[in-house]
Symmetry: none
Subunit: 412 residues, 2 copies
């Protein structure tokens, strides 16, 4: 069973709106086990919409088209689908009534334009859930089907969950469910990860209990996804549970979390479990680490706070370190220790490096200082990218350094 996604709207092509709907639909289709090989964006042009829908129906058994169901002259999805079906549009009085009711419940009168939204291709049915003024449509084309949903995300989501996904899986005759789990990793390059996982991927291709895929996630590291199919959810997760130790065995301590975990959520959780508090001095990262930590720990149970001591006099006055101490190994050590003392925390972290001294070449070193209950340590790293990326990388790098030290201590 293949299902394509067609997103309709000139504003999508012009980049005025980012098409997040197709991604969301693609993710949901993958989760229930329906292949989606193409996703297309097309503008508000009758001939091009018709051509795109026809081609999609040639390649796939189902098409979900998103957008162009509004009340204005630009909204021509209904007309295009009618042409593909070879039928006329029909007025559905009960849809018109529903739209009128929505306006009235907001204390407003329905503009006449909105009656366009009650025009439905002959032979199509209206999706019962209709949170907004645009009805969703199920439009049979021979044995195949076009679903039309509005571009408003929450309206589209409701129609997908209650009507379209159930209809698709019924059409596909599915009995199996597909589930996946993502391992978050930090520390390997993409090619190194490929090399480590390659043998296992080949093995799984033969045995077929689960599959492994990995993908880059920008400065947040690489994700490794384990996917399995089962008769029900429990069976799918059992296959994932059986596979996970193999993958973790290959990746070692580069795995920092699962699914929605982030580096900071994992570190905060480790600190919370150990009853430890944290403070940070950010020269290189300039506040990024505090931003990420404070987002998850607003009341400072673990994260006591941070300082961005840009001016030398600030470093002297508030942290008691020499103002000229900056961008060196020594500076990272001293700042980590000083922020720990000044903030009364168990652990102090610091980011500083040659970028802070004005060296923005690729050769510039970054120094990550850690003071863990009085044990001082500095990691020296050369981070890739422009200054903004170095700032970002310095944060995840120093948090990862802390994570590994905490884990090693627990094991020791």
């Amino acid at each position: 069973m293949r299902c394509e996604v067609v997103a309709i709207g000139t504003e999508l092509l012009l980049g005025q709106i980012i098409d997040t709907n197709s991604s969301w639909i693609g993710e949901r289709l993958a989760t229930v086990g329906i292949d989606s090989f193409y996703q297309t964006k097309v503008g508000d042009n009758h001939a091009r919409i018709v051509g795109t829908l026809r081609q999609a129906l040639e390649r796939s058994e189902a098409v979900i088209c998103c957008g162009g169901l509004g009340p204005t002259q630009d909204d021509i999805t209904r007309d295009a689908i009618a042409e593909v079906m070879g039928v006329e549009l029909e007025f559905h009085p009960e849809v018109a009534e529903h739209i009128r009711h929505i306006f009235e419940s907001r204390g407003r009168q329905m503009p006449e334009n909105n009656l366009r939204q009650a025009m439905v291709p002959a032979g199509a049915s209206v999706i019962p859930e209709q949170p907004g003024t645009a009805p969703g449509l199920v439009c049979p084309v021979g044995e195949k089907v076009i679903y039309a949903v509005p571009g408003v995300p929450y309206e589209m989501h409701q129609m997908m969950e209650t009507a379209i996904l159930p209809d698709l899986t019924r059409r596909a005759g599915f009995s199996a469910v597909i589930r996946s789990r993502t391992l978050r990793t930090w520390g390997h390059s993409e090619s190194k990860l490929a090399e480590l996982l390659e043998p296992r991927i080949v093995e799984l291709d033969r045995s077929g209990q689960a599959t492994i895929a990995f993908l880059a996630s920008g400065i947040e590291g690489l994700k490794v996804r384990i996917t399995a199919k089962g008769a029900d959810e429990a069976a799918a997760y059992a296959a994932i549970d059986a596979e996970e130790p193999h993958v973790r065995g290959l990746l070692g301590d580069t795995v920092f979390g699962v699914d929605g975990d982030t580096m900071e959520s994992v570190v905060l959780e480790m600190l919370r479990a150990r009853g430890l508090t944290l403070a940070v001095a950010e020269v290189t990262s300039g506040g990024i680490m505090a931003t990420r930590l404070s987002a998850l720990d607003p009341h400072g149970e673990v994260f006591r706070g941070g300082i961005v001591p840009t001016a030398g006099a600030v470093r002297t006055k508030l942290l008691g370190v020499p103002g000229e101490l900056l961008g060196t190994f020594e500076a990272a050590k001293t700042l980590a220790s000083a922020v720990r003392a000044a903030f009364g925390a168990d652990i102090g972290l610091a980011t500083t490096g040659q970028h802070d001294l004005g060296d923005i070449s690729g050769a510039a070193q970054t120094y990550l200082g850690l003071d863990i209950e009085g044990t001082l340590d500095v990691e020296r790293v050369r981070l890739p990218g422009d200054r903004e990326r170095v700032r970002q990388f310095s944060v995840i790098s120093v948090l990862n350094a802390l994570r590994l030290r905490l884990a090693a201590r627990a094991g020791g």
Copy 2:
């Protein structure tokens, strides 16, 4: 001249990554006056990529394909383009050397896999700018062309600006140039802005010297774009220059900047021009303001630094304020004053509010404290959205409050 965009990667179809590249490219194409009627996402499948590229070349004179240029087995864009061109891949030693150099400059050895990235379709040329390991490619197909760029946004952006857009406009033989200028605004709702601009938009529709469009830009306010066509760049900008005062007249002091300006770049520039320095205490915003300011002023010429004083004891010890002072009008005033004194700056800003006390309802107030050379002031605002949006909004709001006060002072 028509140019399609093809985004390549199974992870895009699965919704693991949202395709923001196509939107960005679409926006840039529109700005330089090149039509883009279709944007397609296709997975890492040779036959489907080849078919998609062939169809795109039938409909359009140029295709930009994005992604699939990495070092792994999944990265097959090079091979697919070679098939469309009817040529073989050739090894480019100078590209390999460049990739090796990138690894070495990070103190790492190049994995053998990365040599795949030095394979280039015969007859294609390599885009000189190559910020990462993936080279961008210009691949002629008869009179038409396929451009291949990596999916990493900042790498793609560089190649688009320096090589692809100039090549496209040259191919299009444009005699007229289209230029635009974006006014950044903060403070009006979208409907208020529409109301203010409507008469002028109608007027321009008749006279046609320039056009006005506006678009929401999330927490960064609303953008108003003035676009004009001219025989050359100077003529286009002259038409924009003539229109800009009309638009500014309608929008008043909600216009904070132009094009690439941000609220923090504008505020930093105003402070620099006046010889004033700044320090910030961020409870609500938790480091976001320091992050934004430090990105633009790394050496603290204006921005002396910031503090995220999450724990009460930290507020007492480092800022000399009572630990329990939080989330109130009084707290904002006191923190602004205290951070100004502690950091030895001319101006202190502070964010705190009822969110910091655990009230995450829509009714929660945020207090923005300003101490401008000893003149104390607090703005009380009710910011929309969840906690993360409130954090973000508090920053742009307090910076805007400072901007308006500095501007008023200069005028008075």
